[in-house]
Amino acid sequence: MQYFRKPKNLGPMKDADAVGQVGNMVCGDVMKIYLKIKNKVITKATFETFGCVSAIASSSILTEMIKGKTIEEALKITKQDVIDALDGLPAIKIHCSVLATEALAKAVENYRKKI
């Protein structure tokens, strides 16, 4: 819950090397992840999220988890890792954690296209 109350790594990043956005307004959750990448290592990650408590917490904790990791390491993070890091999510909210890892994958895809 602390990741909802005091979300870490909040807000857009002006000099981001990669941006990934998933979800849509219609389904009710939209997540945007910004990455700063140096020598294949994620040095900084921020996010913006339109969504419920679980969606905000998932994106917040994911940006914490990937900091300092290489792109390959970061991509290995599964939805279960996100859920575990949050000490569990209600069954009905599992899709929020999926959204977080998907946003990351989208950002990496965006990065790879650029280089």
Partner: protein, 388 residues
């Protein structure tokens, strides 16, 4: 941070009035006789039960023998809709309900349509109101019953039920109204509405959960759904829940005396809350009608942020609010009421309902506005849809 708890979810349920609790207590462990029993303890309670029935009848301007006590408004609505359609199936099989009814009405209608009945859904305007003309258009030769709620539980809009009833009767069709949200808040009178069936609920008006009634106008054929010992004139078998019914009756007596002044007070608080939110939060839009609405209902939608997150933040400050109706919260589907009002899905996701009641003070309103403004600001910072 510890805050005083501010309950702003009276539309979901209300606390039981202390006077009601006192009235109920003897019926748990002292006057526990079954009114169906022949002995003194049973017969004494039968007399009390009939008194309660008289209180309920007086409360809505009906006769004693037109009141069937049930266990919940959902049960009353199920009995009204399925019971009438089933009992009259040889005459016609068409049911009309509004598209913003409570789930217990909509699900009853759905069940009927799966079982060979035909159901039409009335549209509503942007405020969630049913146009009587649309009722006239929807009525067909085989129409038996029209059901339109007196006021909506999510957005508080009050429907022109007496005009709708008039049209129904002109066409020889029965009219049922769900008054679960209006009883104890605005006047509910079956003569003035000219309703054939009406649902009332106890726990929305400071009575206990587990009690409700259905008014069935004398002479209307209805099929019971709970079969058994034949209680409630054979319409609802089940051992009578004496403490709950005594409590409900007590709540109705209190409401009769205090409702007018309390509704006047709540209307002022409601309007202040609406005005302040509109003034201080530019992304806020009012759901429902500005005047034809329940005295205690405030419903807003906020662009770019999600209702559940707002509810969560308010909860952090000790404010108990809800996104729409409390019963729909575990579902992820957007509110059928706001969808029927023509709102887009992305608008619906940002909805918040604050419903006020006896304990709400003007200070609470100030506190809610202050904290809501902070919560919305925080969530705006998170939102990918707001340019920073």
């Amino acid at each position: 941070m510890k805050h005083k708890l501010i309950y702003a979810d009276y539309a979901a349920t209300t606390p039981i009035d202390k006077r009601v609790v006192r009235a109920m207590l003897p019926y748990f462990d002292k006057k526990y006789g079954n009114p169906a029993s022949m002995h003194k303890m049973g017969q004494d309670n039968l007399i009390v039960l009939n008194k309660c029935r008289k209180i309920a009848a007086d409360f809505i301007g009906a006769n004693d023998n037109e009141i069937i006590f049930t266990g919940s408004a959902s049960e009353s609505n199920n009995l009204a809709i399925k019971g009438v359609m089933w009992a009259t199936k040889n005459k016609g099989n068409h049911l009309i309900v509004s598209s913003v009814e409570h789930d217990c009405v909509l699900e009853s209608a759905k069940w009927l349509s799966k079982n060979g009945f035909e159901v039409s859904y009335l549209p509503v305007d942007e405020y969630g109101m049913v146009d009587p003309k649309s009722v006239e258009k929807a009525i067909k030769k085989n129409t038996i019953l029209v059901s339109v709620m007196q006021a909506n539980n999510e957005i508080g809009t009050i429907n022109p039920v007496s005009e709708i009833a008039k049209i129904c009767h002109k066409k020889g069709v029965l009219f049922h109204t769900d008054a679960a949200q209006t009883c104890g808040k605005i006047e509910v009178n079956v003569q003035k509405i000219d309703a054939d069936l009406l649902t009332a609920s106890s726990h929305k008006m400071y009575g206990p959960k587990g009690a409700a009634f259905l008014y069935i106008k004398k002479g209307i054929k209805i099929e019971p759904w709970i079969h058994g010992g034949g209680q409630e004139n054979g319409m609802r078998s089940s051992t009578v829940n004496m403490p709950a019914i005594v409590g409900f009756a007590s709540a109705m007596e209190i409401a009769k005396k205090e409702m007018r002044a309390e509704s006047f007070r709540l209307t002022k608080l409601r309007d202040k809350l609406i005005k302040e939110i509109l003034l201080r939060i530019p992304t806020a839009k009012l759901n429902g009608h500005s005047e034809k609405r329940l005295p205690n209902n405030v419903s807003f939608r906020f662009a770019y942020i999600e209702g559940e997150s707002i509810v969560y933040w308010l909860n952090e400050y000790g404010i108990m609010a809800s996104t729409g109706s409390a019963c729909s919260s575990p579902k992820l589907t957007p509110s059928h009421v706001l969808t029927a009002c023509g709102l887009k899905k992305e608008e619906i996701h940002g909805s918040l309902r604050l419903s006020l009641g006896k304990e709400t003070t003007e200070k609470d309103i100030d506190f809610i506005v202050e904290k809501l403004e902070i919560a919305v600001k925080k969530l705006n910072e998170l939102s990918p849809f707001i340019k920073k």
